[in-house]
């Protein structure tokens, strides 16, 4: 497909500690087309963020990509040199981080940080960069941007800071934007505003977006396709519509039923029992089997493979023929 922007094939990421090696992402494959929005959903610790950091090759010293390939516009990112990566980061692939409170340099004004970001990749004089920075702030809906340019991060509210971070990420017109739980650290009203903003940006810019979240409500409004991850693996990968109408994997169903609903009178909110298995001690069979309502005998002993059901892929013995 000529339309494919990012293609991840069989990605495996391992973290080594002194006494053990942990596989945080295990055989993940997906692709993002130009202008498309992919939602990545899952509980904490199931490898969503690690996958996104792997795409930017920012795993730090302990993390290593041990297998697989990441093709960005047809070129393997894993084979690029570090200085080539610096060109890609920010310019081609930008990232919005989870915590807006700590994501900005506390000793630099908003304006300086924005101008800095713009001039990392684009050669332009200070005046033009400043104008562009103000434009970006306007675009993300910050009132009186000229004044904000001279303020420090601690003078802004959490929602404003997240807007600034989004402005920074968008300032070089990246073709792929990775948003790692952009709304988690914000309160509900601000969350709604940021989601509105992201939706607008989706319409106005041509960037493809990968939105990482544990909140299915967030992706429901934005994503074209959804990838559900569990314990470092993809358990379901399908069209956003079909996931909400007809979820296949028991885990996806569990996630969907644990969303509070206003249209039904429920006393106790559904919760998936138990927690994600430790990555140091991965079950022999299906990784979800201990928490699964539909677990069968085979689930305990043999790991299921990803199989295709209609347009969806799902990793569950129920659908394996």
């Amino acid at each position: 497909m000529a339309n494919t922007l990012l293609e991840v094939n069989n990605l495996q990421v391992q973290f080594s500690t002194i006494d053990s090696t942990v596989t945080a992402v295990d055989g993940v494959s997906f692709s993002v087309n130009k202008g498309e929005t992919l939602g990545v959903v899952g509980e904490s610790g199931c490898g969503k963020s690690v996958t996104s950091m792997a795409i930017l090759r920012l795993l730090g010293k302990t993390g290593k990509i041990t297998q697989g390939e990441i093709l960005f516009e047809g070129q393997d990112i894993l084979k690029k040199s570090e200085s080539d990566m610096c060109q890609i980061r920010g310019k081609e692939i930008a990232m919005i981080f989870q915590d807006s409170m700590t994501g900005l340099n506390p000793v630099m004004t908003i304006g300086k940080q924005l101008i800095g970001t713009i001039t990392v990749h684009e050669k332009m004089n200070k005046k033009t960069a400043e104008k562009k920075a103000i434009d970006m702030l306007k675009k993300v809906g910050i009132p009186s941007p000229e004044q904000r340019m001279n303020e420090y991060p601690h003078q802004l509210s959490g929602g404003m800071r997240q807007r600034v971070m989004i402005a920074m990420a968008l300032s070089c017109n990246p073709s792929l934007l990775i948003a790692d739980e952009p709304t988690t650290a914000l309160d509900v009203t601000i969350q709604a505003q940021i989601i509105e903003l992201m939706k607008d940006l989706k319409k106005t810019s041509e960037a493809a977006i990968i939105i990482i979240t544990h909140d299915l409500g967030v992706v429901a409004e934005m994503a074209d396709r959804i990838m559900v991850m569990y314990s470092g693996q993809v358990v379901e990968y399908a069209d956003a519509r079909s996931i909400f109408i007809n979820p296949l994997h028991p885990y996806t169903r569990g996630l969907l039923s644990s969303i509070p609903r206003l249209d039904k009178d429920v006393d106790v909110l559904y919760a998936i029992k138990g927690s994600v298995p430790s990555l140091q001690n991965v079950p022999k069979g299906c990784r979800f089997c201990e928490r699964c309502q539909d677990a069968m005998e085979i689930c305990k002993n043999k790991p299921p493979v990803l199989c295709t059901v209609g347009d969806c892929s799902v990793r569950c013995w129920k659908y394996t023929k």
Partner: protein
């Protein structure tokens, strides 16, 4: 979230908090006064710390010699002023030398880690396990005592505290989210260090700078007192005290040793108060 007018820029806040610290303000005034006195007075008046007044050997304070004279008739006040120049010079310059060595080493060790980190931090440990006064004495006696050797040696011996301080800070700052997002923007290591790491580790260095200056002044005085620092006839507070070691001087000629003692204590105390004030002013968590 606090929202203030234009007046609350970062530096404005810092000055406001500093001004609220009474002792620090007193310290600052004393330091400024001292600098003016020590450097301007010899330019305006003809003060001579070297010539003996043959009419007054070991004379008590009088109208002619306001702090008296020493055993060979030199004016104590004049020697105090010139000694002050030496003390302040040694204190500041040697601290700057320590910073110039310690900060880059500490930053690189903390940011990149690896073998360089091991080499730098372990040699800092080795340096710190020597009793520094003895090492300085040996070095000075090998090179020969003078203001410049003393400054250089105190400066070189002081790098460890800056290296360790900044190393520890870099370790924590480098893991901060804004450094991570700087990387995700595509910033290169050099820019990350100069724009993100250094400004965020600046405050503790500034504070350490003041205390280190005070320490260097004491160190210089100790060395001069031991006869290994500034050499006579050049005056320094330490060697004025060195000249006042005998029991008769101590008991009967207090003008020989009380003024340099007070000058020394006052200077060091003022610098330390000033440092306290700077620390409180730079601490953003403390809002006054």
């Amino acid at each position: 979230m606090k929202k203030q007018g234009k007046s609350s820029s970062y530096l404005g806040d810092v000055f406001r908090r500093f001004k609220a610290h009474k002792l620090a303000m007193v310290g600052l005034c004393v330091i400024i006064l001292e600098v003016l006195l020590v450097f301007l007075l010899p330019m305006i008046f003809d003060i001579d710390p070297y010539t003996s007044d043959i009419n007054a050997f070991g004379a008590a304070p009088s109208a002619e010699h306001i702090l008296g004279t020493d055993d060979i008739g030199r004016d104590i006040f004049a020697r105090l002023i010139y000694g002050g120049q030496v003390s302040l010079f040694v204190g500041l310059v040697s601290t700057l030398i320590s910073v110039a060595i310690g900060v880059p080493l500490g930053v690189i060790a903390g940011y990149y880690g690896g073998t360089f980190e091991t080499i730098v931090m372990r040699s800092a440990d080795v340096f710190m396990s020597f009793p520094s006064i003895i090492l300085i004495l040996v070095l000075v006696s090998v090179v020969g005592p003078s203001i410049f050797t003393v400054t250089l040696v105190i400066g070189i011996m002081g790098w460890t505290q800056f290296a360790r301080l900044i190393y520890g800070n870099v370790l924590s700052v480098r893991e901060k989210d804004y450094v991570e997002s700087a990387r995700a923007i595509g910033e290169k290591n050099f820019r990350i260090i100069t724009k993100y790491i250094l400004p965020n580790t600046f405050a503790p260095v500034l504070i350490a700078l003041t205390f280190s200056t005070a320490n260097a002044i004491i160190m210089e005085s100790s060395l001069s007192f031991l006869g290994m620092g500034v050499q006579p006839p050049q005056a320094s507070w330490g060697n004025i005290l060195y000249d006042a070691q005998s029991i008769t001087v101590l008991s009967q000629k207090p003008w020989l040793w009380v003024p340099p003692g007070i000058a020394l204590v006052l200077t060091v105390l003022s610098i330390n108060f000033f440092g306290d004030g700077v620390r409180d002013a730079l601490d953003t968590k403390m809002k006054i």
